[in-house]
Symmetry: C2
Subunit: 210 residues, 2 copies
Amino acid sequence: MRQKLENSYGFLFEPDLLSEIAQDGRLIAIAEGEKMLDIGDYIKSIPLLISGTIKILREDKNGDELLLYYLECGDTCAMSMNHGIGVSKSEIRAICDSDAELIVIPIEFMNRWLIKYESWRKYIFNAYQVRFQEMLEAIDSLAFYDMSARIEKHLIEKVKICKETILNLTHQEIANDLNTSRVVVSRILKKLEMSGSIKLYRNKIEILNY
Amino acid sequence: MRQKLENSYGFLFEPDLLSEIAQDGRLIAIAEGEKMLDIGDYIKSIPLLISGTIKILREDKNGDELLLYYLECGDTCAMSMNHGIGVSKSEIRAICDSDAELIVIPIEFMNRWLIKYESWRKYIFNAYQVRFQEMLEAIDSLAFYDMSARIEKHLIEKVKICKETILNLTHQEIANDLNTSRVVVSRILKKLEMSGSIKLYRNKIEILNY
DNA sequence: GAACCACAGTAACTTATGTTACACAGCGTA
DNA sequence: TACGCTGTGTAACATAAGTTACTGTGGTTC
């Protein structure tokens, strides 16, 4: 664990803090598809992602879902940061998108380290800043983009995360992430294929204009 | 200024911090309609709102706007909190919605007080939490509600802020806040009037089912 | 009063998106 | 091979929202 911590966070945190994390944190592995946190769950720990990706989703009362953003190595959950300020229930759902490893730290260290370590303050504030930015992008997509642009943006995002231009995903999966229907996605993907920006296969989409 | 600070923040901050704010902050008044901060502006200070309301907006490249949320007495701007972490340009626009007074604090005190004052840490984290929550509500509205529900929600929000059930606003203003057109708003408001939940006047809307 | 202007009402139409229904293709398995 | 399942393609239609255009109205100003 110490080694993995060093690799992912060595350049971010000072040695003393790394030691504290190694001592008080716990390394856990999570399998693709596993639900890590659901809406309404109590938040008792801070996750530091080591590898893999986590999907952060919002759901409405009818069960419709919307992808908000992804967490990757070096990220943490903004929702975990509401330490000791009354509200501590999750507003979002976190699902493992590809097998992941992470270090979980009991929530009570949050405040202690904020006082003690400059690097921790920087890290936490940066995390808030990044999450805020991603929420704004989600809002932009919904408010200002049409479905075609949202799908394109989503595919580009996927390419960045998977580091491959051939994505393993079905039309239904895209529809779920964007809270639309499979038929709409198929229709738009076909148009994108016609325009030459992607190529469609069964269970696969190749991104050409990346 | 000391008195106004006491009234609005006396119960939040410890005496030493209140003294520091009184010493290093500056009380300013802003008139309705005045632009306080625009997208791309550098953020050099933290505002603590004393009275009035501030509208926080997002804009896309075509100039279309969307209301994100309001700031009121006791609130601060989440965007101001990206102190010293590289990015310091505003992603949002802040416009005074009703004559406001606020205390502005140079950004460099942010970090200092985070170390020194437990109450400041609590306040700042709470602010992030509340802003996060409001962003989620904005996303919910866009992703899961139809225009009629969005308009209703917006009117209820206005009533809460103005503390009156007769709102002074035009259909065009609603259309601007929700990034839609005046005709659409008029059409839906008329339906809401038919259903008995509101009553329409020139430049005014009365909310009945509140 | 006449002219003007911002605001509101409404019809008619376009477009984007969602829905229903069905055909068919790829692929694993009995 | 035959069967069944999942994923994809597509048509036909329904609905919500955006657009254009025109009317009327309350209030202001000359």
